[in-house]
Symmetry: D2
Subunit: 277 residues, 4 copies
């Protein structure tokens, strides 16, 4: 594994720290902070999104996720509200002061998303969409790069290299499960990859236990494991009414379960920081 350079510990020994300005104090990602990004899979309606955003702010989340453009395996599935959903996300940021995370799928949406979104997410299906990566490499905006469904660690690091190589140093890696033979869960969380990438690279690494498992009962245990393995945070799906979500309801936490998980992982993060110092 020699191909990646700019993301390696040899190139930069100290952890990258990513800072995002917000209405109140800046959000920092990396260097031992435990960052929690949360929200529903897709932005569905104004009232629901604002309500969950307010809850998450109170509950301690650090950033709001919300899908506007949803990659869907079937052309017949709900694809997100698209540009129309942006007003809702902006209102949520206004209300809570939390920065926004949303996925970009098409280079032609870049200007639009750049103007409003604080962290641009590259989904697993687009991890090797090099045209997109090259455009993102020219931005002064953090990129959350999900690992591809069957990407090796090396390929994932090389996708990050595309972004770093163009000049954008603000890359956050996100492990979201890989595809294996096991049918019971949606994907298989590669927990050792988290620890390995933290050793090989200075970039922050977070874990998405919601997409990784596809089952809400697994979200808290996997989130705890992620932080224990050294991850810099988690991104989880929370929905006010998971049973009636338009997408990914089965993997969404209720607000109450989010709060339980929050406390558990913050305790582990505190323990880690105390011990590793």
């Amino acid at each position: 594994m020699k191909g990646f350079q700019l993301s390696s510990r040899e190139y930069q020994e100290n952890d990258t720290l990513i800072e995002i300005n917000t209405a109140s104090k800046p959000l920092v990602i990396g260097q031992g902070h435990c960052t929690i990004i949360a929200g529903p899979c897709a932005v569905e309606d104004r009232e629901g999104y604002l309500s969950i955003a307010s809850f998450l702010k109170e509950a301690g989340a650090h950033a709001l996720r919300g899908g506007l453009f949803k990659p869907r395996t079937s052309p017949y599935s709900f694809k997100g509200l698209g540009r129309e959903g942006m007003e809702i996300m902006l209102e949520a940021r206004q209300l809570t002061g939390l920065p926004l995370v949303s996925e970009i799928m098409d280079v032609r949406d870049l200007d639009f998303l750049y103007d409003h979104i604080d962290i641009l997410q590259v989904g697993s299906r687009n991890m090797q969409n090099y045209s997109l990566l090259q455009e993102l490499s020219r931005l002064d905006k953090p990129i959350l790069l999900k690992r591809g469904l069957s990407a090796t660690i090396e390929e994932w690091m090389l996708a990050a290299e595309y972004i770093l190589n163009g000049g954008n140093k603000q890359v956050i890696l996100c492990e979201r499960g890989i595809r294996t033979f096991e049918p019971y869960m949606r994907n298989t969380v590669d927990i050792a990859a988290v620890a390995l990438v933290k050793q090989l690279s200075h970039l922050p690494v977070i874990v998405d236990p919601s997409h990784a498992t596809g089952r809400w009962r697994m979200v808290a245990p996997v989130a705890r494991a992620a932080i224990a393995a050294g991850a810099d945070g988690v991104m989880v799906e929370v929905h006010p009414d998971p049973d009636n979500a338009l997408s990914d309801g089965k993997q969404s936490l209720t607000p109450q379960n989010f709060s339980l998980m929050y406390r558990q992982i913050m305790d582990i993060a505190a323990l880690q920081n105390a011990e590793l110092k």
Copy 2:
């Protein structure tokens, strides 16, 4: 597996036949014809490409492949000649009368490629690049859709559905190996998937044994197996001097080995057509 509809045998019982006009007689793909697409991985230089094109015409190939835009795992690898290579491909078509196959990676290249290329290829990394699929769905041009590295058969069919659903009925499916634990070859050819898709769908299916195995010694046996399993053709890499190719030399056939393979698979195709009738 119920999600795909337009590509199913239930929707259309008879095999789709794709016709491509050429200077001489039209190229047909599907319905028992054995179509051979061949050429070097990337267009590298004028002389070499024209020379291999002439050879392939003489040797019986039906279409010329040539990479202009190459998706590469590392940002530091050769990425193809891009638009500058098009003149070379056009000259090869002029010389041989063979239609051209080349990969599209970026929606912004669509007009340029549409004007010149006869079959647009979607690579495995872009099989779920839905923005690209939707643009291609509006064209009156055949699309060669490679199976994603770890795409299930259903996901592959649903990617085809994106193209069909927009109105473009000319989809050619291409099995190019899936990612498994086996390290010896680049990918694992899913030969049963070829037979299965031929049963489930009316679309033509071809196999790319070069990318699937990554080893030229495997190309002829896998090509024979593909035709024996019911594939409508193969796409293979041929290079005048594989040892000095800028990309994928290890998996490229020499002209001489191409001719050997050609005779073998045409004999099997004849046998299949005789028996299945």
Copy 3:
């Protein structure tokens, strides 16, 4: 891949030929012969087994398979007739003159099976049961060694090495599909592995398309592909009444479909032999 030695082409350049004495002419496996082993998954009842055995003899099969001891994932499934089924198999051999193939799972059954069975099969679950392999290595009896569910080619060859290393040179390798993420079929046939192993090793290689796909409609296409890729034969499940089989009915051919497949693969084998000479 350097670990295996005795099975390599470097150690022995020419194909191993395995000969099994029968009441009439000896059965030979390897060196371009196309050997067809057929029978029901499990020996279930006398009448059914004798009837299918007679049919298979007439239809041209070269050996009879029949499971006495069946490895089953659940302790609650039918596990085969065990020793009681042997009388039926012996009667079938008497009737047809065809040699018998059956699986050994336990070293304590070795003497019993050795006395009656002509080819001892090691199933995929036991490919790395080294105690068993070592016992088999001391026999003067052909061993049909199935590839493990997720065994690399190297591990498979090293399992064969255990048998060869003890002095038993009569090993037949059997590709039966590997486990991948693809859910539609039971396993993924690794067709390129067949071609590769034929290049690396002098041992005969056959394919089991029934277990590999788990679907009878895939058996004939995959069997054709196997022979086209260079396999020395196939092992297929045939059942007089697949819908009522006690195990693996979905993947069993009817007698009629066996005959169709038989003709197809013999034609391809003839073509291969003509061309490769």
Copy 4:
């Protein structure tokens, strides 16, 4: 997933607790205890084994592992001292009072191992060696059942069912990584499987981060993740001089690193017990 019954929460709601008598207080596994099994991969020599055993006793380990019979992929690798190593293990138990864990590969070794070893381990290669499982099902001795290299969770539970079904209720499940496409580590730890099995089953679950990753630097992070995900303990390899181990040196902890890991996972275990109560 309906096949397994006796191991399910529906059959027994409360966690199984396994007790092993020792010279001092009994070792208990399950019900929130964090059990640490440690030792070198193989018993290699008397002095080294007794030395590491004494260290582990002092450092707080609860049981000693030691391989006597080692399953090795190649017939040419070191296979363990076999029966000759038992004297060394027995002396270590005498010295430390810690119970012994060792692998059984062959039913013919059962009486010998039963007489001396406290927990019999079934390795991943033998998870579906049903003859062996059936023999173990008749014992009054705890069985540590490793998950097969590519076993689904269901298949793993059904292997446990073989043991439970014969009357032996003392089964400890051990996740040790599954085989995936990722080449960087030996296997991929399926951390979510730990959480899932704890929900589905009353049996204790431990994790083997040494075999799962094959890299000692990954052992502590994965061990922490395991406990955070709800595992009942870990089994790790410790070697006084990993660089000169006869097998698996790369994945062995030094005594010093074992102590570091020990403290980390005990802290997480304490946190989990405090929070989950």
